[in-house]
């Protein structure tokens, strides 16, 4: 009986923490479709605010999607071969590879504000570059690259890849044949996990982007901050609602990938 009392006490605490996390989300979702949140739900539901956000901030949504996909492309092209080098160079445990791994993590370890300031001070004078989406893409790539490299590297290290490659090599496969024909197909689960992470992080990135953006290169999170600061609560809420609908599928997919890969590899 005492045990069960303790159980309910703990459950109550867990529910309280859950309420702390979820209640504001629900409130904000409701506020986004309420005529006047200050008056309450009795003022009626409306899609007015969502439409207003769509009119005002539509471009930020498209920009964020374009940047996330471009970021994915760059991290794939640069990150997967890099993971291969880290896994293979001098049998996979060279000091150089450890240094590279450590360095790659730096843009995540160091606050985004510092990375952004460094980029502005080094490349800010190239006006065309500074004002283009490319400038923001660079920031996102730096920040997301380790999240592509790490899961791919984990799969490369844990699978029987070395044996398979040796077999391919002994049959006369060239390096590029081995990379595209043996390595890539065998690390697909890591690539998928990394890709979802990269897209999710890029869509939500604010710390770096805020410093790098110009009025013409505003992304979704920057637009969110803008609407929180200058629009009524209902508009900010409606905008948040749109953002949530964008990331929920990504989160579900990520959950699914980790569950299906966990059986084989520990990420």
């Amino acid at each position: 009986m005492k045990q069960s009392f303790r159980f309910y006490l703990q459950l109550a605490f867990a529910l309280l923490v859950c309420a702390f996390l979820i209640v504001p989300v629900v409130l904000s979702m409701l506020a986004g479709v309420t005529e006047n949140f200050f008056v309450g739900l009795s003022s009626g539901f409306t899609l007015r605010w969502v439409l207003q956000v769509w009119d005002t901030y539509q471009m930020t949504i498209w920009r964020s999607i374009v940047i996330a996909l471009a970021c994915l492309a760059v991290t794939l092209v640069a990150g997967v071969p890099l993971a291969y080098m880290l896994a293979r160079y001098k049998g996979g445990n060279s000091r150089l590879a450890r240094v590279f791994e450590e360095l790659l993590m730096m843009p995540v370890a160091v606050p985004g504000l510092a990375t952004a300031l460094a980029l502005i001070m080094a490349y800010g004078q190239y006006r065309a570059f500074r004002g283009s989406l490319l400038f923001i893409l660079v920031g996102h790539v730096l920040f997301t690259l380790p999240f592509m490299v790490r899961p791919v590297l984990a799969v490369m290290q844990s699978s029987q890849l070395a044996v398979l490659e040796e077999a391919a090599a002994s049959l006369g496969a060239s390096m590029s044949q081995r990379f595209f024909g043996v390595v890539i197909p065998n690390v697909m689960s890591g690539i998928l996990a990394g890709a979802l992470m990269v897209v999710t992080l890029s869509v939500g990135e604010f710390n770096i982007t805020w410093m790098l953006h110009t009025p013409l290169t505003m992304t979704l999170p920057v637009g969110l901050a803008d609407s929180y600061a200058s629009m009524r609560l209902e508009v900010g809420s409606a905008y948040t609602l749109i953002f949530l609908f964008m990331i929920i599928p990504l989160l579900i997919a990520m959950q699914w990938v980790t569950q299906t890969t966990r059986a084989r590899v520990r990420l």
Binding site: Q10, R88, Y89, A114, A118, V141, F206, L224, Y228, A229
Partner: protein, 285 residues
Amino acid sequence: MSVHVTNKSHRSNRKRPGSKVWLFAVPGMTLFAAFWLLPMLRLVGVGASGPTGAMAYLAVVTNRHYLWSLVSTLVLSGVVTVATLAISSFVGLFLQRNRFPGKPLLLAMLTFPLAFPGVVVGFMVIMLAGRQGLIGALTDKLFGESLVFAYSLAGLFLGYLYFSIPRVILTVIAAAEKLDPSLEEAARSLGANPARVFLDVMVPALTPALISSGAICFATSVGAFGTAFTLATNIDVLPMAIYNEFTSYANFAMSAALSIVLGVITWVALALARSLSGSTVPATA
């Protein structure tokens, strides 16, 4: 002689697959060097280019205003870390050791805010404790006076808690899954009460995970910018001081020096934690 030959052929065979593998790192590391390493070196130089030269790096301790920002940032992050670790280990352990209907749903809801950027977290704090927030409305009904604290350090505390709890809960659950239940049974059969079992068996076993997730939580709180930015631009924490120095006063040297100091702090926190506990992947604010 024959031994020598096989040895040699073996070596060349092993060497062949790895000989040009460094080429695979060229695109990634070139990007990194051009857009992070070199700009960072430049930032260090800019930090020392102000009227006070390299002394700018000491300004964070010699200038009272910056020192105050630094102290409040570190204290706030420390308190957030301790509170998050306490709350999350309690909830994480509870979820890991009990089965009840609705548990997967509860876990899903507890980890749902994982992907929220700092700005959205700030907005959630406004929803809870802002001018039109829930806490204000409730206290208004109960006491006739509405409690609004979103736009201050207290609001920032709530925001960092909101941001960190889901991450640490996941780490605690993962670490608790690897605990050996027989140790706990042994302690209990030797007469230890639940509190003793918790302190002497569970806590030491969870320590590496708690250190690493605590360091991530601390480093993220020190460097986070979005939440503070959403709540109020006059909250006195170091990231906001850097931002104001850069945008409002165009004091590039000082903002560069301060952000290098900030970067060194978060990097050292993460590196220390890793040397104490194994691997850490920093969180994403």
